[in-house]
């Protein structure tokens, strides 16, 4: 698989680190809602199809970004910087 790093361009996926679902909302720091934290940490939509996920270009610019990828085909789509419009 090849991943298009928004900063460095297309690279082999082995240069990157995967960190899962980027659509889930991380509860705000100090948010005392145990349920919210539980769902964020432990539950996954795990869709077969379009997925937005965090990757870090570990062996490159070390930037985290959001990749759109089809989990049924592994075909990667657009990438977003975190918090960029459309990254969720």
């Amino acid at each position: 698989m090849r991943i298009n790093c928004p900063h460095c361009g297309e690279r082999d996926y082995k240069e990157f680190r995967y960190a899962g679902d980027a659509v889930k909302t991380r509860p705000a720091l100090g948010d005392a809602d145990l349920r919210a934290w539980h769902d964020y940490v432990f539950l996954f939509d795990n869709p077969k199809g379009a997925h937005r996920e965090y990757w870090q270009h570990v062996l490159g610019c070390r930037q985290w970004f959001v990749l759109e990828r089809d989990t049924a085909t592994n075909v990667p789509g657009r990438t977003f910087r975190p918090r960029e419009r459309g990254s969720r």
Binding site: M1, D12, Y13, K14, R17, Y18, A19, G20, D21, H38, D39, V41, F42, L43, F44, D45, N46, P47, K48, H51, E53, T71, A72, T73, N74
Partner: protein
């Protein structure tokens, strides 16, 4: 009814040329069943068999989207073992191994259990302590385990890398002699044949497309072959657990990941044990047909493609050569991928769900195959009694809310993806 399999029956068929009957009936779906099991893999078929044989529930359908055994039961590296550390896991997997030991007779189907022994290697003093802890736990639970020092390993497996070239020298290992391999496809076929003979309907090419519900109670399923009413419904579709659970509105602590498996060309006996590398996740054995069968780590990101990345093929080959330098000359014949449920703590689920009459079995990570008989046994019990089997009380979906994760491999929450 079915012919009993035996050497005598083989001879009779050879002499008379008489045809063998179908191994399992090809059933048409009925409109209603006492129990519907979604998923005709090893676990689903085992569940059906134990429901029929141990709980007297024979009005059972196994619904399979494709053909039976088309998922991970036919894609794994065929290992069975019970070297588990954590309270609960140890007993569950030992129970499974005990069921394996009687399975060919139980099913009248030779699943070719070969207890050739598994050696897990340690490559540092600290790793040896971790292995020793597991070995001690096994012994304290009546499970065979032997601690090997470097010399013992070298005598047992003289072809590993003991040279000064070795990047991660072997310090020793733990041997479980009762561990070994099983002919994986035969497990699905054997359970199917035995369950079918007891009246279970095995319905292939039947995809579940939805659940029928009355409030918080599941009353049946919608399928590609029409609606089917069910007293109780069990999901046993590891790899696709999230998809099927989502049809019932459930979100799971599961991500689907791709694990590759590899087989070499057939050669005369070369590796007579199951060997687990300790420096990285890698394990190898040799099939009765002569192929070296090996596996490594998941590819590292969620995927349903059932085909892996080439870099992971190279990684597995590197591990193979690091462990057995002479394997370099042998040739990889085929590699393939299976989709496995990964869970935050590396342990599975066999439990009731928030919906009444709906049961879940999944989240097997790397260990689904070796669990097959016990998973079927415990899921059958859980469905029949609407209460978890004592062996799987620790494997509920709510364990993360309670803070009761079962991190068998101490991989932690984030790093399991790496």
């Amino acid at each position: 009814m079915r012919d009993r399999y035996s050497a005598l029956a083989l001879a009779r068929h050879a002499m008379t040329g008489a045809a063998w009957p179908r191994a399992w009936r090809s059933a048409e779906p009925k409109s209603t069943y006492d129990v519907v099991i979604i998923g005709g893999g090893g676990h689903g078929l085992a569940t059906a068999y134990y429901l029929a044989s141990r709980h007297g529930i024979t009005n059972v359908a196994v619904l399979e989207r494709n053909h039976i055994g088309s998922g991970n039961v036919g894609r794994n590296t065929t290992l069975v073992r019970s070297n588990y550390l954590l309270d609960g896991n140890t007993q569950f997997f030992e129970y499974s191994l005990k069921l394996w030991e009687g399975l060919s007779h139980e099913l009248n189907y030779n699943v070719m259990l070969s207890q050739r022994g598994q050696v897990v290697l340690g490559h540092s003093p600290a790793q040896m302590d971790v292995l020793a802890r597991k070995g001690n736990i096994m012994r304290l639970n009546g499970i065979d385990a032997e601690l090997l020092d470097r010399g013992d390993v070298q005598r047992l497996l003289p072809y590993l890398d003991y040279s000064t070239q070795s990047r991660f020298p072997i310090h020793g290992g733990v041997l479980q002699r009762r561990a070994g391999t099983v002919r994986h496809d035969a497990v699905a076929w054997g359970y199917a044949r035995a369950a079918s003979a007891l009246g279970v309907d095995i319905i292939e090419n039947c995809e579940v497309t939805g659940f029928r519900r009355e409030g918080d109670r599941v009353t049946g399923v919608a399928t590609s072959r029409g609606p089917i009413a069910a007293g109780r419904t069990a999901i046993s579709v590891a790899g696709h657990s999230s998809q099927v659970a989502a049809l019932a509105g459930l979100r799971l602590p599961v991500e689907s990941h791709l694990l590759q498996a590899f087989v070499s060309e057939p050669i005369k006996p070369f590796v007579n044990h199951v060997i687990s590398f300790g420096a990285e996740l890698f394990y190898i054995s040799q099939s009765d047909k002569g192929g070296l069968v090996f596996g490594a780590h998941i590819d590292g990101f969620n995927s349903y493609t059932q085909r892996g990345q080439f870099q992971q093929v190279q990684t597995a080959a590197e591990c193979a050569v690091a462990l057995i330098p002479s394997i370099s000359r042998l040739r990889l014949l085929r590699h393939w991928g299976g989709i496995q449920d990964m869970t935050p703590d590396g342990s599975p689920f066999i439990c009731r769900t928030p919906l009444a009459n709906l049961y879940f079995n999944g989240g097997w990570c790397y260990q689904g195959f070796k669990a097959t008989p016990a998973a079927g046994w415990c899921l059958a019990h859980t469905v029949a009694n609407d209460d978890e089997h004592p062996l799987v009380r620790h494997l509920g979906l709510d364990r993360f809310e309670r803070g009761n994760g079962h991190d068998e491999y101490a991989l932690g929450l984030w790093t399991y993806r790496q």
